[in-house]
């Protein structure tokens, strides 16, 4: 796939460094809008942070269809391992000619990401890593073994 930008980091993403690099790499590609989304780990329920597992072969496969868009480009980074409160585990940017379609793609992309990306989240609390099952949803294709 041409120029697919899907970056994986162990621990928190160096947000400004990554955005700066994406911006400089793509600012002359004809896009009039770069819309970044920076997910920040919140200090909910006394957690110290979050932790993630991901399955890269299927994550790349999922991301390919978003990379095939003609009128937009999407760049994305995600963490695995521990990401502490205040750090960033998910970063993306939508690149379009104009802002309107960019905002639309941002919403669609993040929704699709939440529903389909093969990533598992854990709370880090009192030194333990606890699966966030209450916030997890079966994949749309799940259930054939039920």
């Amino acid at each position: 796939m041409d120029n697919m930008i899907l970056e994986i980091y162990k621990g928190g993403i160096p947000v400004i460094e990554v955005l700066d690099r994406w911006y400089n790499d793509l600012k002359l590609e004809g896009y009039g809008a770069m819309i970044p989304f920076i997910g920040i780990v919140r200090p909910d329920n006394g957690i110290e942070g979050l932790s993630f597992d991901l399955y890269l072969p299927l994550l790349s496969e999922w991301f390919k269809k978003w990379n095939a868009l003609k009128e937009a480009k999407i760049t994305m980074a995600h963490s695995f391992g521990d990401v502490m409160v205040g750090e960033t585990s998910f970063l993306c940017a939508i690149w379009t000619k104009h802002r309107r379609e960019g905002f639309k793609y941002l919403e669609e992309f993040v929704e699709d990401f939440k529903a389909n990306a093969p990533i598992w989240k854990y709370d880090l609390k009192n030194g333990k890593r606890i699966f966030a099952g209450d916030r997890a949803k079966p994949l749309p294709e799940a259930g054939i073994l039920g």
Binding site: G39, K114, K121, A136, P138, L139
Partner: protein, 73 residues
């Protein structure tokens, strides 16, 4: 043999099964008590493609991964 990997929060080592289809694999998975609470919510990928039919054939060397409910971001 078909290798089966349990992803994310399922605390189980990779296993191998002598099965010819996902349906046969399903029967084997139901014999594992630790998987009981997971099976209904799993998605299944064969050689890194998600499949939706129990009749999907499996052959020697195929790689199956089982994907529990997801939550990225």
């Amino acid at each position: 043999m078909v290798s089966v990997e349990f992803l994310g929060p399922i605390q189980m080592e990779k296993k191998e099964f002598n099965v010819q289809s996902v349906r046969e694999l399903k029967d084997e998975l139901y014999k594992i008590p630790e998987l009981e609470d997971w099976l209904e919510s799993l998605a299944v990928a064969v050689n890194d493609k998600i499949i939706t039919s129990l009749d999907t054939p499996l052959k020697d060397g195929d790689k199956v991964v089982l994907l529990p409910p997801v939550c990225g971001g």
